[in-house]
């Protein structure tokens, strides 16, 4: 007894009988199971290969940096990391100045940015979750995040630097204008959007029944924020701050333009100096001898390692914090 064809099928001219069903299983026609198997496995292979490609890419980056730094390491060894003299003409390659410069500018920028990004995070995530103010501030933050770093540097060079010179003259310091503080300030402006947007997302996700519990016990909004919101959102805020720090460390253009390009350890916050990123930006294109280039590449490797270490430490801190939920 054959399957009764639905009228639709016969009207459509596609006759469906039991025999056709069997044929579909075994016939060699386009659309047969065999071809779908190969297209499926081809597709899965492409997906898999793309994923593996990411691994290979990252691995390749590390390997290249390491291999190309070897000539420098063989010649100079560990003093590379402890020497403060960087003078390629006399074959002196000490990267300590840049390490200090990077860490100093990044942490000062972070310190300066925290009150602002926390304020914005609270503004958008707690006080004004909706409404015109919220949209306005959110757009402003996004605008800031979108401005290319070279334009920040350009603006800082022509506006912040003269301003800093004025301040320095009033303070009786050498009015370089450029220097660690100027670089930190422009860095701070640049990293605020990153920590602010992550922190505001996390703060807005604090469950309202927790907050209401605090308020119903008679606490003010400030106390509720201090006692309920911040503890709950701690790990998210830390993650946002970490992200901001990571960006600050790797930031190149704005810093290069206002840090003063001086290869000596900063003696005060107004001193010109250099960071790992800025020395590469300034000198790589003109470096000619292999040892010089290898040293600069080694600076790059150092920069990447520092970024990674900070990220790993940060992750541990965040995981430790976020253990409750």
């Amino acid at each position: 007894m054959s399957v009764v064809s639905v009228e639709v099928a016969s009207a459509a001219g596609v006759s469906e009988t039991r025999e056709d069903f069997r044929d579909a299983c075994t016939a060699k026609r386009p659309g047969r199971p065999g071809s779908s198997m190969t297209s499926d496995s081809l597709f899965k292979t492409v997906l898999y290969a793309s994923a593996v490609f990411m691994l290979l890419l990252l691995g390749g980056i590390f390997v290249t940096l390491a291999i190309d730094s070897v000539p420098a390491f063989k010649e100079i060894g560990f003093s590379f990391f402890t020497d403060t003299a960087w003078d390629p003409v006399f074959k002196k390659y000490g990267a300590l100045v840049f390490l200090v410069g990077t860490l100093l500018t990044s942490f000062v920028a972070l310190a300066v940015s925290v009150p602002f990004s926390l304020a914005i995070a609270l503004f958008l995530g707690e006080y004004f979750k909706e409404g015109a103010f919220s949209v306005f501030l959110k757009s402003a933050v996004e605008l800031l995040a979108g401005i290319p770093s070279v334009i920040y540097g350009f603006w800082a060079l022509f506006v912040l630097v003269p301003l800093m010179q004025n301040i320095e003259m009033k303070l009786g310091v050498v009015p370089y204008g450029v220097g660690i503080l100027t670089a930190s300030l422009i860095l701070a402006v640049m990293i605020i959007p990153y920590s602010a947007s992550i922190s505001s997302d996390v703060i807005s996700l604090v469950p309202s029944d927790l907050k209401e519990a605090a308020l119903s016990l008679g606490s003010t909004r400030f106390e509720m924020i201090k006692k309920v919101v911040f503890p709950y959102a701690r790990s998210g805020i830390a993650a946002g701050t970490l992200l901001a720090l990571g960006r600050a460390i790797g930031e190149t253009m704005a810093v290069t333009m206002v840090i003063g390009n001086a290869n000596r350890l900063p003696t005060s916050i107004f001193s010109p100096s250099n960071t790992m990123a800025s020395i590469i930006a300034n000198e790589f294109a003109e470096a000619t001898e292999t040892e010089y280039i290898a040293c600069l590449i080694q600076v790059g490797l150092l920069l990447m390692v520092v970024t990674l270490i900070i990220n790993v430490i940060g992750r541990c801190i965040i995981n430790r914090m976020g253990v409750e939920h």
Partner: protein, 252 residues
Amino acid sequence: MESSVLTIEDFCAHFSGNQVVNDVSMNVEDKKVTALMGPSGCGKTTLLRCINRMHELIPGTGVSGTMKLHDDDLYSLNPIVVRKKIGMVFQRPNPFPTMSIYDNVIAGYTLNGIRIKRSEKDRIVEDALKKAALWNEVKERLHRKGSFLSGGQQQRLCIARALAMNPDIMLMDEPTSALDPKATAHIEELITALKKNVTILLVTHNIAQAGRVSDFTAFMYLGDLVEFGTTEKLFTVPEDKRTEEYLSGKFG
């Protein structure tokens, strides 16, 4: 004796070592509505999804026993072929959001790269929508997206999509549990009308629904097929004590 469309023999299914379906044997009659009912976790949905081998999407599942569709062993064929011959309607309506109503109905063909003339496509779409009692409501806007339809209409669209493939059997996994009572009533009317054209196997956790629309009912509990028979008999003079207790609401 009517012919059986689907024969299940000694079928077992397990998820990561937990036995979920124990030695179920039953026959699904042609052009009749068979309901699979039972409390949550009894294995009815698992059994249903083993028929068109959708359980294979979840790792760690294994089956034993036989399932035959018209004497063809479903487990010796390519799953894709199996699914082309079996229609499935899910708990939550799931029309393809990027496609129009028309394209949704014909999706089983177009996604599989089967080429049909435009006039035949039109006929398939119209017939399927008419069978799903949706044609009059959407014939003016076939080329608009399906996502603005109501829940009940979306579910009928999904039924039309499955019907368009001309399946030997339609599997329905709690098709009305996400719908309001009015839409539910429409779908139940539709099921009763549809059985003239296609065999239906319906999973439901709603005892009254099983009583209303099905010709045969299977009661499952904790993975076992406790009782199977005509709906009239099972609901009025159940043989097994557990069936009686379930029907009278003692558990569920």
